[in-house]
Symmetry: C2
Subunit: 210 residues, 2 copies
């Protein structure tokens, strides 16, 4: 008996770690859902405990603080975005084809948002832009890395002669501004503005409407 | 004595009304300041009472509810925007000159914001886009009216042959998206992106950089 319990101890610990990691991931994902509607300020340990039927102390043990929970929500939202938009586009041929695939999936994300309040980044960037601290830093880093990724893909398309000249950073900024505004319009049910944004993005990527 | 008090009664009431209106305006203006940083959710009767050193019951008497206070903040912010950007531009000659004056003042508002958290509209639109109700309706109406105003000024410049053809609503949408993104960048201290936005706006308005 003693031998058996010693032998099984690491396995029990592993299972606990796996269960803990799963619980963390599922709580963080729900926190991102809440934040997309009510902002990250609306994400509290008490709120999530009520929503998910888990004890507050359970969530507090997993995350420690409201700020840690907010940071976990930012990471969870980022993973969803990478999984749905960036990762599948990377199998497309590099250049304008891939860039357009990214933008197509991005508009797909606007039209059928993964989060109930629409784009997590748009919601939280406006919420935290005037509140310095680790949460703002995490949101800004995520946004900056997205703009850098877009600019790199734009540069590749330019290098292959598939897109006209111009500052890739400026084009990335403009695309991001237009798609972000489309997200807000979509949340307000102004679907005509989403179509407007789509036409602008197509023009910016040199796609002439037939 | 009886005659005198009867005669002075309306004047006392007038003074009270004036004082009440002034107090309302000053509280609503502060509410807009708070909302620009912390969102309209952060605007509560208790919070404003503490900030302004007024009793909660005093504010409650003037506004009645948190929602009424939030709506007053939306109106106050709108008045500031009209006063600083729209009104002074109306004395410019109609057409591209006026449109550029509007955009210049708009960028001025981004660089030296009237509210501590930057553009009130950008902050609150992202905050309330997924929360139906009278506050969202007021923010959306304000935003829609701004886009309609811009589109009208664009159309006038086109009619005078000073701006190329194209859908005025689409150009208004794109300008608004770019200046809104510039506002967020400015709040984050990313001044290079504000310059990028300015160059995009100039291109959209056919102003070639020398």
């Amino acid at each position: 008996m003693a031998e058996s319990s010693v032998a099984s101890a690491p396995q029990v610990t592993d299972q606990r770690l796996v269960k803990g990691a799963r619980a963390r991931a599922s709580i963080a994902r729900h926190a991102a859902d809440v934040a997309s509607v009510e902002g990250l300020t609306g994400v509290s340990i008490g709120r999530l405990a009520t929503d998910l039927g888990i004890s507050k102390s359970g969530i507090a043990t997993l995350f420690g603080s409201k700020e840690a929970l907010q940071l976990a929500a930012v990471r969870a939202a980022r993973e969803v975005f990478v999984e749905q938009i960036v990762a599948p586009s990377m199998s497309e041929p590099r250049g304008l084809t891939r860039l357009r695939a990214v933008v197509d999936r991005w508009f797909g994300h606007v039209l059928e948002p993964a989060f109930p309040g629409g784009c997590f980044r748009v919601s939280t960037l406006a919420e935290f832009d005037s509140r310095p601290g680790p949460v703002r830093d995490a949101i800004v880093t995520d946004h900056d890395e997205w703009l850098v990724f877009l600019a790199k893909e734009i540069r590749k398309a330019q290098d292959q002669g598939e897109l006209g000249p111009g500052d890739p950073d400026a084009l990335a900024f403009e695309l991001d501004a237009v798609v972000s505004a489309a997200n807000t319009a979509r949340q307000l049910g102004a679907d005509a503005k989403v179509a407007t944004a789509r036409a602008i993005a197509d023009r910016l990527l040199g796609r002439i409407e037939s």
